[in-house]
């Protein structure tokens, strides 16, 4: 099964190597990994999606936490989380395509339905940008392909996850409550409130 971990790590050279070789040692395949800056200058936030048996989650979490670069680690798979992926798709469209210049308007329509944005238009290709769940992105790719268009290039970031609502107190605690605030009292841990109506419906296609 797929596990999604969100790790807050120190932003040091070699962090990626250490995380990647940890998973290599555990003999667990990383499906996708994204890493970028977090809300603090000296830490990065990583989303790691890996394929592992259900019982392995605890071991992965403990191993990640043992790396001294790890500030905080969270498995978001089971809790309510927003999971998004960014995808760029370059599609052949233009006078030489089967439908000629109509191919462009047909792709514009598909993009509209999937709430994708056109970010580049060249004489013979269109580049679309789309964010959403992996299944939605795969839906767009499938529709484009089965409509007879040629996909020239696809680039995807892999999944990025963030817990909905009030999860943040634990993160701020791990960071040592920046700015001298007391976020722990301002945002009490309300993990028991998971059934509160704070699950904003994602745009669906």
């Amino acid at each position: 099964m797929l596990h999604t971990f969100v790790a807050l790590v120190q932003d040091k050279p070699g962090v990626l190597t250490r995380v990647a070789s940890l998973f290599r040692r555990l003999n667990i395949n990383i499906v996708s990994l994204t890493v970028g800056e977090s809300e603090r200058a000296d830490t990065s936030r990583m989303t790691i999606v890996c394929e592992a048996p259900e019982h392995a989650a605890h071991r992965i979490r403990a191993s990640l936490y043992k790396l001294e670069i790890t500030v905080d680690i969270d498995e978001v798979g089971r809790s309510e989380a927003v999971i998004r992926e960014l995808c760029l798709i370059k599609v052949a469209a233009g006078p030489r395509e089967p439908n000629g210049l109509h191919s462009r308007s047909q792709i514009f329509e598909l993009a509209n339905v999937f709430r994708a944005r056109v970010v580049d238009l060249a004489p013979e290709s269109i580049m679309l940008e789309m964010t959403g769940s992996s299944s939605k992105i795969e839906g767009l790719i499938q529709v484009i392909t089965e409509s007879g268009y040629t996909i020239l290039e696809v680039s995807r970031t892999g999944r990025m996850a963030m817990r909905r609502g009030h999860h943040t107190s634990r993160v701020l605690k791990a960071l040592g409550t920046p700015n001298g605030e007391q976020p722990v009292t301002i945002f009490p841990d309300r993990s028991q409130d998971d059934d509160l109506p704070n699950q904003f419906v994602e745009d669906e296609t």
Copy 2:
């Protein structure tokens, strides 16, 4: 200076470890790395942004190409490319914030201006999703912070790049022209046409 490489690699276990340790050996710091599926089932596309002297680009490219997992490698830094990043930002907003419930509408307005989308709304926080250049994302983060709001969590994918227009022939050639098509003749390499009016203006804020 920052270099951006787009690599098409075989989708095998350990690919990430190999690429990460290659950069470690070269003693070059990876600023961001995204990896996800490409247009072919057995290959992934990686965007690697690294900080290295200008003259090092050739060496990095050659070293990456020497890994037998690499199908194709391209440095997009100097050519016209779409460079996007996905960011999730959780902001404290709600009755306990300085402006009370007005804080929500103020954040909605900022999101509108930056074309960010609200993807979660909880009693005391709002989650925004935004895609764009790194500087635009940093712009939104700065505006939110300087307007007096507390950013609870930031998660960023790191930059993903795709060449504009007609770059694709070389990629398809490296892939061995899938589906028996002849894309090399359909999409001739027009790198000399870089000044064609195919640079779609990115949405600017």
